[in-house]
Symmetry: C2
Subunit: 385 residues, 2 copies
């Protein structure tokens, strides 16, 4: 396999930094040609000096002079601002985009990459949650793969390799259940930021860690799965599996189930997405079935973790409802992370926003953008109160 | 997919009868064109009258007149004897052979089918245990697939679909542990035939059920896996998994593990092998992860279940040792089934035969045949005493 030029959109986040570790460990296979960051100029500069990309983009335009100066003695091109992300996504400087920008900001560069015929390794679930129909239609039109990076969707993607002729009966998304599995509302009402940030199995960014604690993450993943694998809502099941060993499963129409398993380690799905269709040897720790005694499964408690119920509602009704859910949730999670609202208030914000913002059955991209803006404003107004 | 003409070699056994159920349920996809049986002429005739094959073969020549007469008013051709099995295997009357003859007798027809360029769905593990190198070399030479029917190897085969470019790090064969898991020699020494025939999870023929109780079955499967998937002995691991839900696993060189799961039901791997590469919808019972609480794993107890150790020894040393192991084991198991020897005596017979019969590093097919005969004679002589 020849060297693949990778563009990492969101290189300073949890996924981005781990992707760079994968690239550093496989210099014969990958080069990092584009690195982008929203705010963290210091890490972006460090990464640029180490990986010598063709281009870096700093989202926050105020930080442009600092980045430009720090890289003045290199050949690296420096750009700034949201528009630059889209322009760079159009360029021919890379072979695969790793879309690792957190939240809604990842949508436009991802669409641009697909428009330019570039395969996308997708770590940004909001892109699919918000506008999965548009993204997947574009990928289909341009005949480029969207390779999921989320461990659950990577598992499903891996199980589907070589099975394109065989119909999926359902997918089973496993969920650790997060740090508060088994807890009830009277406990959750008092949960604080730092406690919610302690995930039992996975090391991830702050936003997704909170979403894991509320089970909203699993709801977003159900919506993501719908688009990635062209499923009906009732073909997507969530099962709580606290050990996070089985990363997800596919049941085919003959009843046979395939699963992908491993230790919880985001580097593996990242490496898989970068290398696909080739698996790359590595020395990451291996799962040992002889020393691992038990895998357990249980039903999710939707009565307590209402965010999952809201997400299933959005998944089932479709239209712009997942977009509303996602926008309100982003506002709510960041408010919770800043200790502005309580753990259960997040559900309130999302639910009220879903009731408030008008439903659109088949939104255009512009309508998605409007919906997103309106939902954010309304959710923010709830928090101000 | 057009109708596939199936030849079932061994149609009256456990695998054969279940295969006919699959064919009956999918008449648009399959027809049974060849049916063969060693002794059970009555069932063979029943099956022939129901499925109207082109040819039937009764192994026991004495029963030929009875079968011939019973089918006199049909167009079905009737043959008899061991030689006829090989001749029919050569014919162009079928598209896929299901090799479901139990024991060593399945070898020659299987080789003949491959020689004639016919894909083989292989339910006869002794074929690979005895002469796996010769069988797989023939399949490679004729470029026809050998599709395993054993649930473990079917699981591995399913996990490998679409992964041909990716190297296997190891395969993990799961084992229920049989009815005597956790028992010690002082218990096993008194085990009787009827108790050993009660497998906790799977309904199978008598020979394989006894082999499951002694763990010899898992040892034979390790040898089978070596040939089917071109593995080194240390790439094959056995893990006890009493629930028989995970049917086996493949670990790739990136550390990612894929598994195939389902309720224990031989019809699923049979159907998969007949339909490959197409999965066929069915209404077999589905696994429900929300109602299934626990999957457990443990190391096999090789000190107690010495047959597995003997098989690993044969696997590792290679040559004609697996052939010796298999021949002695067939004699021992049938002696146990006739209440001629005790449960632990089976190990004695196999071990002594492995010591006695001369080792050949790279046997020819004739040397395999000689080894088989000598090993059977010697094992039988041990039982006479």
């Amino acid at each position: 396999m020849s060297q693949k030029r990778i563009a990492i959109f969101g290189s300073t986040g949890s996924i981005g930094t781990q992707a760079l570790e994968v690239i550093a460990a496989n210099k014969d296979k990958f080069s990092a040609e584009v690195l982008t960051a929203q705010n963290n100029d210091e890490l972006l500069v460090q990464q640029a000096l180490k990986f010598n990309p063709y281009i870096v983009v700093i989202g926050d335009e105020k930080k442009y002079p600092k980045v430009k100066q720090a890289l003045a003695r290199t050949d690296i091109q420096v750009f700034a601002g949201e528009k630059a992300l889209e322009e760079v996504a159009e360029m021919d400087a890379y072979d695969l985009m790793l879309a690792a920008i957190v939240g809604y900001a990842g949508l436009k560069p991802t669409l641009q990459a697909l428009e330019s015929g570039k395969p996308v390794a997708l770590a940004n679930k909001e892109t699919l949650v918000v506008a999965g129909d548009i993204v997947m239609k574009k990928a289909l039109e341009k005949r480029v793969p969207v390779i999921p990076v989320d461990s659950e969707h990577s598992a499903i993607f891996q199980c589907l390799v070589g099975e394109t002729r065989n119909k999926i009966e359902k997918v089973i998304l496993t969920a650790s259940g997060g740090p508060f599995r088994g807890k009830k509302p009277n406990f959750l009402v008092n949960v604080k930021r730092d406690h919610a940030l302690q995930h039992p199995n996975w090391t991830m960014g702050a936003k997704i860690t909170i979403d894991s604690a509320t089970l909203m993450n699993k709801g977003l993943e159900m919506i993501e799965a719908k688009w990635l694998f062209n499923l009906k809502p009732d073909q997507i099941q969530v099962v709580i599996h606290p050990q996070s060993i089985i990363h997800s499963m596919v049941q085919f129409e003959d009843g046979s189930i395939k699963s992908q398993m491993g230790l919880p380690n985001m580097k593996l799905p990242i490496q898989y997405a970068l290398g696909f269709p080739h698996r790359i040897p590595n020395d990451m720790p291996r799962l040992n079935f002889r020393s691992m005694s038990t895998l357990t499964f249980e039903e999710p408690d939707i009565k307590t973790f209402k965010n999952l119920g809201l997400a299933i509602d959005a998944l089932t009704k479709g239209g712009n409802l997942p977009c509303i859910l996602n926008a309100a949730n982003e506002i709510a999670v960041y408010a919770f992370l800043r200790n502005r609202i309580g753990f259960l208030d997040m559900t309130e914000v999302v639910e009220q926003t879903m009731v408030k913002i008008p439903f659109i059955e088949s939104p255009t991209l512009d309508e998605y953008l409007d919906t997103d803006g309106e939902a954010r404003s309304f959710a923010a107004s709830l928090i101000q109160m």
